[in-house]
């Protein structure tokens, strides 16, 4: 009886002592800030099916931080990143609590999409710690308005979906009947729920709505139904693992001539590789000015990435690497402008004053791989620009016109 009870308590004690390893940041009245260092927290999934997303955001932020540090830091202080892995809502809540209450970080980068970010949203509002959302499109971080939550490059699902609809319908002749292929899990459902009324407002008819599950490998049934419905356009929401296979299989089901529009979750390098020739002409939206491999700032960014992290695994750097990198530089400007008053209210004030901020504003070495950010007293959405992108010659190419 007693030994086992002791054992349970010992276990907890062990867990506590392991966890309590994080150094307590000395407060200069501001948590996470010392004379020498600013501690930046981040959380996101780095294992599981969304691992590429979380790892990308983390590595992008880390790359920016390393560049900033090697150029003298911010007002004489170095930056340090503490990343906590989190996948499910329960883990996300644990991660942000650990960051805020145990590690006492200065602010938190939310490098998580979907339900993870939502679970943390309430906590963010209640605790007041500054939060920079660099990945999620969820409205729970945007409504109701919260002074301490800033959204960087990813747009809210409301604005973003308006762009989706505009982009999808932007062809001649204008599509009148569209078929929809949407995943049953959280993220594509959110996209579809927001896009559906917008499509309806444009007077579009839904020829058929087909669903698929996360991890599905065979789309025969859905594609046959879609072919039968004879749509002018197929719109697909989800991530590349599933949609790429669906697009590829569509060739065999008599849909070779039907155009596709896919959600931006599909815009990765794996897509043209997996979907093969079927990928030609597939269109989507893109929320940074360049695609991977483009000349100019993107080239510079990728060279720096490889130098820092080595040979990239397939599919990296992904768009979350870009977001993390660019957004960190925007944040760095807000911190720099705060000078010696790094209290949260002042940080927020300085952040709000950023207009048209680019990474290179912080330092000329920074690659301008994101659109400029503008904030304001009631504006927490930094980036509001979206471009079209399509697959041409086996790779994604950004379309010059901006919509």
């Amino acid at each position: 009886m007693l030994p086992a009870m002791k054992r349970v308590l010992t276990t907890i004690a062990c867990a506590v002592s392991i966890l309590a390893g994080a150094p307590a940041a000395q407060a200069q009245q501001v948590q996470g800030v010392t004379d020498k260092e600013i501690l930046i927290g981040a959380f996101g999934p780095i294992t599981g099916p969304l691992s590429w997303l979380g790892q990308g955001a983390r590595d992008g932020v880390q790359l920016a931080i390393d560049e900033i540090n090697s150029n003298g830091g911010i007002n004489g202080r170095r930056l340090r990143l503490e990343h906590q892995p989190a996948m499910t809502p329960a883990e996300s809540l644990a991660a942000v609590k650990k960051l805020n209450e145990q590690s006492k970080v200065y602010l938190i980068f939310s490098a998580h999409g979907s339900t993870g970010a939502e679970a943390a949203a309430d906590y963010f509002r209640e605790s007041g710690i500054p939060v920079f959302n660099s990945v999620s499109v969820t409205m729970r971080l945007r409504e109701p308005f919260a002074r301490n939550i800033f959204n960087g490059t990813p747009l809210g699902v409301d604005i973003l979906n308006a762009y989706y609809v505009r982009s999808a319908l932007d062809r001649t002749p204008r599509p009148k009947r569209i078929a929809v292929l949407v995943g049953t899990y959280a993220f594509p459902q959110a996209e579809w729920n927001a896009a559906k009324p917008l499509f309806e407002k444009e007077g579009v008819e839904f020829a058929t709505v087909q669903t698929y599950d996360l991890g599905d490998k065979d789309y025969t049934a859905q594609l046959v139904q879609i072919a039968r419905a004879k749509p002018d356009l197929i719109v697909a929401f989800g991530q590349v693992q599933e949609v790429a296979i669906a697009v590829k299989q569509s060739q065999e089901r008599g849909l070779a001539k039907t155009p596709w529009w896919v959600g931006p979750g599909v815009v990765t390098r794996a897509f043209p590789v997996v979907a093969g020739s079927a990928a030609e002409g597939v269109r989507s939206v893109w929320i940074v000015p360049y695609y991977h491999g483009d000349k100019g700032p993107m080239e510079k960014f990728e060279a720096a990435w490889v130098k820092r992290f080595g040979n990239p695994p397939e599919g990296r750097p992904a768009y979350t690497d870009v977001f993390g990198y660019g957004d960190m530089y925007i944040l760095a400007q807000a911190i720099k402008k705060s000078g010696n008053d790094l209290s949260w209210p002042n940080l927020i004030r300085q952040w709000e004053s950023l207009k048209g901020a680019k990474p290179s504003d912080f330092g000329p070495w920074a690659a301008d791989v994101i659109f400029p950010h503008t904030y304001g007293p009631t504006r927490r959405q930094g980036n509001q620009q979206v471009t079209n992108i399509l697959v041409e010659g086996g790779t994604w190419k950004v379309q010059p016109d901006k919509k």
């Binding site: 009886m1 030994p3 086992a4 009870m5 054992r7 349970v8 308590l9 276990t11 907890i12 062990c14 867990a15 506590v16 392991i18 966890l19 780095i46 294992t47 906590q84 892995p85 499910t88 809502p89 329960a90 883990e91 809540l93 644990a94 609590k97 650990k98 209450e101 145990q102 339900t115 939502e118 679970a119 309430d122 049953t184 899990y185 959280a186 459902q189 959110a190 729920n193």
Partner: protein
């Protein structure tokens, strides 16, 4: 014996107290750790809830996630959509879990092993699909927000208050689970896992217990889900998916399957592991599953058994008080001379009704005619032997009489009552008990527990309610304990009653079987090769025992034996079977002197 009652009561309450202790100890920690400890407390409840199903009934349960989801969604929906107060919603969630467990248990009766695992997987998958597709109610894949708990006007917002709340509910649940696992309910589950025929023969309805195990476990899984939901504030189908089921399966396996402590240890440790391994999050799931495989291979009893071994006290977590009692009493080892008459069972009222009548019974298995037109009468109070070479059909006949097989034709009457078609488990109520050729005792239980099960009264509801009585060592328990002790005394095993039955030598195991069979004062005792594999001394004692029982209790007996000497000494009448047919019957010495009988055994003379 009030002292042992107190000790036993403490043993029953200890796991629940530990849970509460963990929760309260967590208050001293910071907010993040309080959150983690809270999650661990829920996992501890899950681990404990799985002990009856995974640990005792040995069922591979893959629907844990869905069951927790049912509790979580049911209670949360009631709170958010209908404004039902938390306690009532929790109760409804628990009931939903019970119903779901019952529904899952029903088809489970027919399946075992991997097919049963598949059935639970079906439930898991379909459950999640339903939750996900029912978007209007549950919010679908995007999840549902759950408000914090509000009770008596107080809103549980802080990590501290939540931790205390979780601790209280989890402790209360663990208390109930402990009562069931340590009580007669848990013991019967263990008995079933040890031997199904050995349990059926003593009134246990196998199917009913399977359903009951599912119902009990799923009720508490649903409670775990319902108290978890307001803690994590957002629930989505993924939180209750197949990975949660697989992870939860590891709790009793790693912790130790057969005691509630195992569930507690496994749940707490494994839930804390990913948090403790945050630095190695990439490897966390790998370490987790590798650990589970390692424990299965190296330490099949889980961490609890490892701890037991280190502490050097086998069975330390169970029946500790009985062991100490037994040690005190072994100094007073008595020769079993007195056969008690305390039992209430009256002797058969009409001595003219034969104890057993077998009339024209035949049974074939495919083209093999095992028994052909056998007739046998055993008068009340007689000892009747049945011999014959292997393959003669004796065991088949035995199984027909004890209800484990049905005859193709013919009748069997027990004390005048028609018994063909009545389930084997009802034989005990009819006053018929048996032993088995391959000893069918409950190896993991003590001798006393083995015999107590032999007393009967093993219906599901009886044992569930009885477990509460057991926990307090109430009147029912003490009455049954006395009867069991008496039976053990008769066979001379009283002093060793706290020992584990599996540790006995074969001869003692056979004696234990006899004790178990006579505990309920049956009217007819069927013995299947009781002297097989025992030494000559044992044989003599067994024969004396049987004669005494027959004399003092007028206990009718039918025994199968190969040991001719034993049978001749023991029996009043002897029947010989050969190739499915009754060949000879009469007084033992006359029967074995017959040439045709000798020819059967030794060939032509």
């Amino acid at each position: 014996m009030p002292e042992s009652r107190l000790r036993h009561g403490r043993a029953v309450a200890a796991p629940a107290a530990a849970v509460l202790g963990v929760a309260i100890a967590g208050i001293a920690l910071d907010s993040y750790l309080q959150y983690v400890v809270g999650l661990c407390v829920v996992a501890i409840l899950v681990g404990a809830a799985l002990v009856p199903l995974v640990g005792l009934a040995r069922i591979v349960m893959l629907a844990t996630g869905a069951m927790m989801g049912i509790g979580a969604y049911a209670s949360s929906l009631l709170i958010t959509k209908l404004g039902v107060p938390f306690l009532a919603a929790l109760a409804v969630g628990a009931i939903a879990g019970a119903v779901a467990g019952f529904l899952l248990g029903l088809p489970a009766i027919r399946f075992r092993s991997h097919h049963l695992a598949m059935v639970t997987l079906v439930f898991q998958a379909l459950g999640i699909i339903v939750i996900r597709e029912w978007k209007t109610m549950t919010g679908g894949a995007e999840g549902m927000r759950v408000p914090p708990v509000v009770m008596l006007g107080y809103t549980f917002r802080s990590d501290e208050s939540n931790l205390v709340l979780l601790g209280i509910f989890a402790a209360a649940s663990v208390l109930v689970i402990t009562i069931l696992v340590r009580g007669s309910f848990g013991k019967v589950l263990r008995a079933i896992t040890a031997t199904e025929v050995g349990s059926t023969a003593f009134g246990v309805h196998l199917g009913a217990y399977k359903v009951a195990a599912f119902t009990v476990s799923c009720t508490f899984l649903a409670i775990a889900g319902a108290i978890l939901a307001p803690r994590i504030r957002i629930i989505d189908p993924d939180s209750f998916g197949i990975m949660q089921s697989i992870n939860a399966l590891a709790y009793p396996i790693v912790g130790g399957m057969t005691s509630v402590w195992g569930g507690l240890l496994g749940g707490g440790l494994l839930r804390a592991l990913p948090e403790a391994l945050r630095a190695f999050k990439d490897y966390a799931e790998l370490i987790y599953t590798a650990l589970a495989v390692l424990i299965i291979l190296v330490l099949p009893g889980g961490l609890v058994s490892g701890i037991e071994r280190i502490a050097g006290r086998v069975g330390a977590f169970r029946e500790a008080s009985l062991q100490e009692e037994s040690a005190a009493l072994s100094a007073h080892d008595r020769e079993p001379t007195v056969i008690r008459h305390d039992a209430a069972q009256p002797v058969a009222a009409k001595p003219s009704v034969p104890a057993l009548e077998v009339l024209g019974v035949s049974r074939s298995f495919g083209s093999l005619a095992a028994i052909v037109d056998v007739a046998l009468t055993v008068p009340a109070g007689s000892i009747h032997g049945l011999i014959g070479p292997n393959g003669a059909g004796k065991t088949t006949l035995f199984n027909i009489i004890s209800g484990f097989t049905e005859p193709d034709r013919g009748e069997v009457r027990l004390f005048g009552a028609e018994s063909v078609g009545i389930a084997a488990r009802s034989r005990l109520r009819m006053g018929v008990a048996r032993t088995f050729q391959h000893v069918a005792i409950y190896g993991d239980l003590s001798l006393l527990d083995n015999v107590m099960i032999g007393l009967g009264e093993n219906g599901v509801l009886q044992t569930i309610v009885g477990s509460a009585d057991d926990a307090l060592r109430g009147p029912r328990y003490r009455r049954r304990e006395d009867l069991a002790k008496a039976a053990l005394d008769i066979v001379g095993l009283h002093a060793r009653r706290a020992e584990r039955a599996g540790s006995l030598a074969l001869g003692d195991q056979r004696r234990l079987e006899v004790a178990r069979a006579i505990a309920s004062r049956p009217r007819l005792l069927l013995l299947d090769e009781p002297a097989s594999g025992v030494a000559i001394e044992e044989e003599r004692r067994l024969k004396d025992l049987l004669h005494r029982l027959n004399a003092e209790w007028s206990l009718t007996m039918l025994l199968i034996e190969h040991n001719i000497r034993f049978v001749v000494d023991c029996c009043v009448n002897l029947s010989v079977m050969h190739q499915g047919v009754l060949v000879a019957e009469g007084r033992p010495d006359e029967v074995i002197a017959r040439t045709d009988v000798q020819q059967i055994y030794f060939g032509k003379v």
